[in-house]
């Protein structure tokens, strides 16, 4: 069971209160019509799937119902940091 700190509620809560929503920091192409099929397909379907540090969006489903970002190690599952939407991660993978 993960213990997750919600930066909005400012408390640790149990994993069951949250849903993970996948990779964070995905920018929608500014002009979709000018994308090639490859660019659009990559925006829709291709996600980073790192073995190691991953930045992802979590949703406090049964709490404050707000979104925030988490940096998590996908091998140890350890949560390295929690930060709000619009902020950048401090812990990043080398290289």
């Amino acid at each position: 069971m993960l213990h997750i700190y919600c930066p909005h509620c400012r408390e640790h809560r149990e994993e069951e209160e949250f849903h993970v929503k996948g990779q964070a920091h995905i920018a929608r192409p500014l002009d979709p019509d000018s994308c090639t099929d490859k660019e659009w397909g990559e925006y829709l379907f291709f996600r980073k799937n790192p073995r190691g540090l991953h930045h992802e969006i979590w949703y406090h489903t049964t709490g404050c119902r707000k979104f925030f970002n988490v940096t998590r190690d996908t091998v140890s599952y350890e949560i390295k940091e929690v930060y709000k939407i619009g902020e950048q991660p401090q812990v990043v993978a080398k290289g």
């Binding site: 069971m1 849903h19 099929d37 291709f46 996600r47 073995r51 992802e56 998590r72 996908t74």
Partner: protein
């Protein structure tokens, strides 16, 4: 290869079973092969077997970082069925089903394929409409299937609670009588022994750590124990680790790796002689020959490579099983584990050429690839032998995520298994 038979069993009993030939060799790799297969799970071993048997390509190595079949092949709950909705998927899984039906004889190895039937339950009117549609589609594709009502389900599974006043009443089910279960380890071992008998080198405890690429074409792989091993073609069959392998070759795949868990109970007397699955309450259960209940459900929501999952998922799984079978509520669970499944956005696999010439990938089977093991190996072997996709594999190109020709099997893939 020493053939297994009743007579052989008797003969070896006279020498206390101490003189059986080893099932496969443990060779040191050569410098170069015609084909290298990365990943010694069921799919990789089946690929090697059919390459040798059907295409006469025997200068082949399977390179496995752990032991043969130690990945998802040995961690899955062994449900085999072919009742998928769309033509492309239905044809591929039915191809596998036909191979399953003769597999023990073909391999001279008992894979304990048991066609005990699979029920996919419906609990809402929409569930039942989807079931009608899927069964009709299956029949048009020559795949057996029936739509059952509550009474029909109750007759097959008398111990399930099918009463009308449940929170999720069982309104009916789809029923595929030819579906069932098989012994997962035996499948890996049978294909391994078969491939070895044709001269395929099975290299265990050897991790592929890099791809040797020259002028946009693959010419070999780097390994941690045997240095560079060269090859004309490379097939990568690494399930949950496929995203990492693609990165080594310099491209991305639309895969996300998730933990998927399963549990088995203490062995109990025979009570369930079929497989029961429910997308809606989200769980499935069968009973192994040993007597333990084999139980599974959904993936863990987050991505991960840790080969274990989290407790809330186990709790939800068991809630679903007890909802269907209140009679199981006091059965104790014996073991629990996780595997890493490579899920694809359309719940269908990737069997494909790649941006690197002579490098092919067979992955993305996600939560449900065990049932496809012989078929997957069979079409991937043809793909590697000819250098272009087998007709059944063609729709499963990785480039469908660029041109939009997705094959949405989320409905029939249903509860993760």
């Amino acid at each position: 290869m020493q053939r297994y038979s009743g007579f052989g069993l008797f003969k070896h009993s006279l020498s206390y079973h101490e003189n059986w030939q080893r099932a496969w060799r443990n060779p040191t790799p050569k410098k170069k092969y015609d084909v290298i297969i990365v990943g010694g799970g069921g799919h990789g071993l089946a690929t090697a077997y059919y390459l040798a048997k059907e295409h006469g390509i025997t200068n082949v190595a399977v390179i496995e970082k752990g032991y043969l079949g130690g990945g998802n092949t040995a961690r899955n709950t062994t449900i085999v069925r072919s009742n998928y909705l769309w033509d492309e998927a239905a044809h591929l899984y039915e191809h596998a089903m036909k191979l399953w039906e003769g597999l023990s004889q073909d391999l001279n190895y008992n894979v304990m394929f048991s066609q005990r039937g699979v029920l996919n339950l419906g609990h809402t009117l929409q569930d039942m409409r989807d079931i009608q549609r899927r069964v009709n589609a299956n029949r048009l594709n020559g795949i057996d299937g029936e739509v059952l009502d509550t009474k029909g389900v109750q007759e097959i599974v008398p111990h399930m609670d099918c009463s009308a006043n449940r929170r999720y009443p069982v309104l009916g089910a789809s029923w595929q009588p030819r579906a069932g279960v098989a012994r997962h380890d035996a499948v890996a071992w049978g294909f391994a022994r078969g491939a070895d008998s044709y001269g395929v080198d099975l290299i265990q405890q050897c991790e592929v750590t890099g791809m040797v690429i020259e002028d946009g074409a693959i010419v070999g792989v780097e390994t941690n124990r045997h240095g560079k091993i060269m090859a004309d073609r490379v097939g990568c069959v690494t399930a949950g680790n496929s995203g990492v392998m693609a990165k080594m070759a310099g491209f991305e795949l639309p895969l996300e790796s998730h933990p998927l868990q399963a549990l088995v109970s203490e062995p109990i007397k025979p009570i369930l002689d079929t497989v029961v699955m429910s997308n809606h309450v989200h769980g499935y259960v069968s009973q192994s020959d040993k007597g333990d209940l084999v139980i599974g459900a959904g993936i863990d929501g987050y991505t991960g490579y840790g080969q274990r999952g989290s407790y809330p998922t186990i709790e939800h799984t068991l809630q679903a099983i007890v909802e269907l079978f209140p009679i199981f509520s006091r059965v104790r669970m014996n073991r629990q584990w996780g595997g890493i499944v490579d899920t694809c956005p359309d719940a269908c696999p990737i069997i494909s050429d790649t941006p690197v010439e002579n490098l092919f990938f067979n992955c993305g089977w996600g939560t449900g690839g065990f049932k496809a093991t012989p078929g997957s190996g069979n079409v991937f072997a043809a793909t590697l032998a000819k250098g272009e996709a087998h007709p059944l594999a063609k729709p499963f190109s990785m480039f469908r995520f660029h041109n939009g020709a997705l094959i949405d099997e989320h409905g029939a893939a249903g509860v993760a298994h």
